[in-house]
Each structure stands twice: as structure tokens, then as C-alpha cells.
């Protein structure tokens, strides 16, 4: 299958403008960008996609082994950049995608030339002096939480979601139709996300980088954003007066403004 269909790639915006690749994090799909996207489109070319296993991606391409760590996702970003022949792109990664961007950028230096890391965390689990915000037990609790919440997913829905695109879509948008993910896939993605430790990879970032963090984020606290800022040479840090882990939803105007300012001035 063609890469653009496999990753459910959507392109829009100003074809002559700077190229932004918006990558969603754990828990949702490219719908996460629906509020900032229109703010970026007038000046930028915008590409969004779903990771394999999320949203409208090709679920048959999912592989528990490949996606059990972030390298598998980073390899997909590299492949996507090559297949779509993206050049000189600003990779905007939210949450775990920030780390995926950190891993992918050095592999394709002519394609990803700048990074925007939105509420990044290179390591969620506390380790020695490092405060990621969580213990290993906390992550196990999250996995239990995922087990008990099959939101928008059931055995009868799965074929519809996985069905070929030619099939007529259900007339009515289903409850919790965004961010659907099979519980099996979610479990693997959660482990890959929350047990990853990519602190050492921050040193490998040589491209201009913007870190966008929220003043009150229960997932990636400010110390973590500061840590990332300290470990990526020459990076810029913007702290939004926003709450939560998803400023593209809770503070779309400020998030878009920060991205656009960085694009214009870096």
C-alpha cells in the first residue's frame, strides 16, 4: 500500500509556505491538530498523519514487535519523509512524538531541518536525580486503566474501522469516534511511550529546536521541559500559560503563535 494511505496522510495549507509535519502523541490521532491546523494553513504547508495503529492508518501494517519501542515509530517517520519526498520540514511532535522526532531528525538531516517539541518528555519514569514524574507502578496503573476503558472500540466496530476505505462509512459519527485505538495496540504503544528513556538522544539533536511546554502539565511537568531545553544545544523554550498536556487543544492560539514565530525566526 502506498505510504500516504498507510499513514492516512493529509496535506493542506499554503503550498509555497514552510513545511510543517504535525505528529500526534499517545492517546489520539491527527485529530489532535484540528484546532491549530487552520491557524497554520494560511502561511504554511501542513502535513498530518496517523501512526500505524492509530486513527485511519492501515492496521494490517501494525506489528507488535516493530512498535514495541520508539525506534519503530521513528523509522516510520523517516520512511514517510522519504516516500513523500519531504524536504526542509519543521517536524512538530506532540508528547511522545517529540521524542520520535528527536530520533528521526538525525537520520534524515536534509528532510527534517527543524524541530518543535510540544510538551516533550524524554523519560516519564523517575530515575535517580531525574524527575520524570512517574514510577514504574504508576505506568502499570495506566495499563490497567487502558484495560478497563475500551473507548469506542469493540469487536463489532473493529472490522468497520479496519475495513477498506471503499466501504461506505457509517452515516453517523460514533461516540468517541476520535482517537479510537484497539486495546491491544494501545497497550503496546503505552509501554513504548511511558517506559522509553531517550534522554541520551537529546545530545544528538543539532537542528534548531523549539520546546513548547505548559505551565501546568500533569504528564510532562515543567522540570522535564527545562531538562530537554538544557540538553538540546541552542534550543528555545516557550512556556504557555496553559493547563494540561495538550496545548494544541487547551491553548490552540498560543500554540500556533509559538510555532509560527519559531518558523519565521529560526
Amino acid at each position: 500500500m502506498e505510504a500516504s494511505r498507510r499513514f492516512n496522510v493529509q496535506q493542506s495549507g499554503n503550498p509555497g509556505g514552510p513545511l510543517l509535519v504535525l505528529a500526534h502523541g499517545f492517546g489520539c490521532d491527527q485529530n489532535m491538530w484540528r484546532m491549530v491546523r487552520p491557524l497554520l494553513e494560511p502561511t504554511c504547508r501542513v502535513v498530518t498523519f496517523d501512526y500505524i495503529g492509530a486513527g485511519g492508518s492501515d492496521l494490517s501494517a501494525w506489528d507488535a514487535e516493530r512498535y514495541s519501542n520508539l525506534d519503530g515509530y521513528a523509522a516510520d517517520v523517516v520512511e514517510l519523509c522519504r516516500k513523500l519526498d519531504l524536504r526542509d520540514a519543521v517536524f512538530v511532535g506532540h508528547s511522545v512524538s517529540a521524542t520520535i522526532g528527536v530520533l528521526a531528525a538525525p537520520v534524515v538531516p536534509e528532510r527534517i531541518t527543524r524541530l518543535v517539541l510540544v510538551t516533550p518528555s524524554p523519560c516519564f519514569v523517575d530515575d535517580g536525580d531525574y524527575r520524570g514524574g512517574f514510577s514504574r507502578d504508576d505506568i502499570d496503573e495506566l495499563l490497567t486503566s487502558l484495560e478497563s476503558n475500551y473507548l469506542g472500540w469493540s469487536a463489532t466496530m473493529a472490522p468497520v474501522i479496519m475495513g477498506n476505505p471503499d466501504r461506505p462509512v457509517l452515516g453517523q459519527e460514533l461516540t468517541n469516534s476520535f482517537c479510537r485505538m484497539s486495546p491491544d495496540i494501545a497497550r503496546v504503544f503505552a509501554r513504548a511511550t511511558f517506559l522509553a528513556d531517550n534522554r541520551a538522544d537529546l545530545d544528538g539533536v543539532t537542528v534548531p529546536t523549539l520546546i513548547v511546554q505548559c505551565a501546568h502539565d500533569a504528564i510532562a511537568p515543567r522540570e522535564v521541559g527545562d531538562y530537554v531545553h538544557d540538553h538540546i544545544r541552542g534550543s528555545r523554550l516557550v512556556t504557555l500559560d496553559a493547563t494540561g498536556h495538550c496545548p494544541q487543544l487547551s491553548a490552540p492560539d498560543e500554540t500556533a503563535a509559538a510555532i509560527l514565530r519559531f518558523v519565521a525566526t529560526s
Binding site: E141, S148, N149, C179, I219
Partner: protein, 403 residues
């Protein structure tokens, strides 16, 4: 003077009802700002949490009431969905009470805009019983999955025990076989074997017992060992198959269950000219794929199924295998596979055309081609398929010129 009619709803209690419904509602209710800061909370929820209103309002965010795992879930799933959809319902979570207990609940939230300020209304339903029930369901599913794995493993092992682990090497001949199970859960009813007989002869058979599962496996075992043991002393193949028939007839089986079709053959390997004697009891006719690029079915029709009647008719034939010839035995799972999205069966004509397109071909090549054919059929293969092929390799140049 006391007010009259306390027991009757009057105007004043009617007016109080909404406030009472809010505060004493059977579900917990709270409202927060968009950032989660608690604005109001009802008495029911305070009671469940063992907290005072002053501790929570304006001081505490909704996520602070959740355990850590649920907090991550809230930030990564609940809040984004609520923001995108405007509402969300039926989400399981656990609240932390003042006493440190966990209270299983179901959450529903709705985003409201009050004079331009976004407010989130949340209802909390106690779900101790439901969560317990769900956990039971989950446990039951896990145990069903485990049982299924076990059953599949058993089926695999049993199936393997009914087939030769590997084919013996026949001097001057090549052989290949394949077994394609239609289901991972059930033992199929096809079987084959290739084995040494006294006087430098070799025996082989391929058959299909009626039915599937453990009963079919028991029957396969019976047929297979009767064939092998009888073959050591009985040279007349028709008599041999009638012996199997007699054994099956003795089986105290349900109705017509103890039945099978089979092709039995024996051969003595002779330099480039092996004479193969065959007998068939109601089984699809074997294919002969010739060194000359042709393919044909052997005339082995007219035999009757074993186990159905006393003294069934057995069809017999003799064929000579020369350099480059390959004899193919198969079960009807192959010819009865559904093709053209289920409209048609593969049928013997198509199999013959396929065999002709392969000719000449070694047993290994034939079996590999049939394997890929089966892969192509996919779900169209309803029944198990067994294939056994025996052939004489093409003559080397020296041998050919000596002929």
C-alpha cells in the same frame, strides 16, 4: 402552628427539589473550569470522597482526585476527547478517597460555555459492582483465550501424531507431502503415510475419514494402523482395503460416522521403471504428471467408501512410473475449495489443467505449487487438504542414452 401537609408536595418543597436533586443526587456531580479547577461539588460526591467542600472548591483540580494511572489516561484520552467532542461518557476510573481507598466510578462530562467561560460538568456514578462484573468478564475472556490456546496446541500435537514426522527416503525416488489444516482448533480427518514393506517394497496411502475433531482422530488412528499392519502380510490391495472396511464396520460408532475413503499403493523401486499398484475406496483419483509434459487422472473410479457397507467395491489399477514422472495423491479438500469469492468450487478439471501447466514437475515442485495454490484460495479452503507426491527423478544423460 405547624405548616399543614408536610407529607404532601407543596410549592415550597417543589422549588427546593432541584437544589436537593443536585446536592443529594444518587450520582456525584461537580463542575470545573476548563483547567480542571473545581467550582462546585455536590454532597453525594463529598460523602463518597470523605472530603469537605472547602478542601476542594477553588483549591483542587479534578485530576487530583484520580489515581496516577487514571490521571495519565485523563490527560491523554479523556481531556482531548472532551475538548474535541464536547462530551464524553462511560469512562471507568478510580477516585481516591480521603481515607486512601479507591472508589471505582464511571465518568461522564460535558463541556458548557457560560457567558464565554468554559465550564466542564461531570457526573460520577459509583461502579463498584459493575467494575467487579467487568473484571469477571475480563477474567473469563482471558481464561477462554488460554483454553483455546490449549485446545489448539492439543489439536496440533494430535494431528502431528497422525502423520509421519518425516517421509522415509526411497532409493531412486523423490517424495514430498503437505498437510493444510482448515482450522487451528480441530483435528482434521485427512491422513497419509509412506513406509517400508517386506521384500524391498514400499507402501503408501492417503485417505480422508468422515468428520473432524477427536472422533475423527480416533478413526484416523484406527484406519492408519490397520492399513500399515495388514499391508505387511497382505499383497492383494483390494483384500487389504476390505480388511480395513471390516474393522471400521466393527466400530460401535454413531450412525454412519466410521467411514473413510483411501487410496493405497505399493511399489518396488526399479531403475527408472517402478511399477505402482494402486487401490481406491471412494477416494478422488490420483494424478500422474508425466515427464512428457502431460497430466492425467488414473482410472481408479468405482471404488466405494470404507465402513459403509459389507464388501465394498474396490477399484484397482497399475501404473508405471518412469524417469521424470510424478504421482500425486490428494484429498478432496483441494478440489472442493471455493474459488471466485465462493461462487465456484475448484473441481477436478481445474486441478488437471493446473497439473498440466506444471508438467513435467518433481514431487517437491508439485507440492510447493499446490501449497501456494492453497494460500491463494485463503478462506476458500473449508476442509483439510493432504497431498502426497512420489516421483522418479529425470534420467541423467548417461542413463537416458543407456535406455
Amino acid at each position: 402552628m405547624t405548616r399543614a401537609g408536610r407529607s404532601q408536595p407543596d410549592e415550597s418543597t417543589g422549588q427546593q427539589a432541584p437544589a436537593d436533586l443536585y446536592d443529594r443526587s444518587p450520582c456525584g456531580l461537580l463542575s470545573t473550569r476548563a483547567d480542571g479547577t473545581i467550582l462546585t461539588v455536590n454532597a453525594t460526591l463529598l460523602g463518597w470522597l470523605g472530603r469537605e467542600r472547602e478542601e476542594l472548591v477553588g483549591k483542587c483540580r479534578f485530576v487530583d482526585l484520580l489515581g496516577v494511572g487514571d490521571r495519565i489516561y485523563h490527560e491523554t484520552h479523556y481531556a482531548p476527547l472532551l475538548s474535541m467532542q464536547g462530551s464524553i461518557a462511560g469512562v471507568a476510573a478510580e477516585l481516591r478517597t480521603a481515607g486512601g481507598d479507591r472508589l471505582p466510578v464511571l465518568l461522564a462530562s460535558r463541556l458548557r460555555s457560560d457567558a464565554g467561560v468554559e465550564v466542564i460538568h461531570t457526573a460520577v456514578v459509583e461502579a463498584r459492582d459493575r467494575r467487579g462484573y467487568e473484571r469477571e468478564l475480563l477474567r473469563a475472556r482471558e481464561s477462554a483465550d488460554r483454553e483455546r490456546d490449549r485446545a489448539q496446541r492439543l489439536a496440533r500435537v494430535l494431528q502431528r501424531s497422525l502423520l509421519p514426522p518425516r517421509l522415509p527416503t526411497l532409493p531412486g525416488m523423490t517424495t514430498a507431502a503437505h498437510y493444510h489444516p482448515a482450522s487451528a482448533d480441530e483435528v482434521g480427518g485427512d491422513f497419509y503415510d509412506l513406509f517400508r514393506l517386506p521384500d524391498d517394497r514400499w507402501g503408501f496411502f492417503l485417505g480422508d475419514v468422515c468428520g473432524k475433531g477427536p472422533e475423527a482422530a480416533a478413526l484416523t488412528s484406527l484406519a492408519r494402523y490397520t492399513l500399515r499392519s495388514t499391508a505387511t502380510h497382505e499383497h492383494d490391495h483390494a483384500v487389504l482395503l476390505r480388511t480395513v472396511n471390516a474393522v471400521l464396520r466393527q466400530e460401535e460408532h454413531d450412525a454412519a460416522a466410521a467411514q473413510c475413503t483411501v487410496v493405497f499403493g505399493s511399489l518396488r523401486v526399479d531403475e527408472g521403471r517402478s511399477i505402482v499398484r494402486l487401490a481406491s475406496a471412494g477416494h478422488p483419483p490420483p494424478l500422474l504428471i508425466g515427464a512428457d509434459g502431460t497430466a492425467r487422472y488414473l482410472d481408479l473410479l468405482g471404488g466405494q467408501v470404507l465402513g459403509a457397507i459389507d464388501n465394498p467395491t474396490i477399484a484397482v489399477a497399475t501404473v508405471e512410473l518412469r524417469f521424470g514422472d510424478t504421482l500425486v495423491l490428494y484429498s478432496d479438500g483441494l478440489t472442493e475449495a471455493r474459488i471466485d469469492t465462493g461462487r465456484n468450487r475448484y473441481e477436478e478439471e481445474r486441478l488437471l489443467a493446473f497439473a498440466t501447466s506444471l508438467a513435467p514437475a518433481s514431487p517437491t515442485a508439485v507440492v510447493a505449487s499446490i501449497q501456494s495454490l492453497l494460500t491463494q484460495f485463503g478462506d476458500g479452503v473449508d476442509d483439510d487438504v493432504a497431498v502426497l507426491a512420489l516421483g522418479v527423478p529425470p534420467a541423467s544423460n548417461d542413463a537416458a542414452s543407456a535406455r
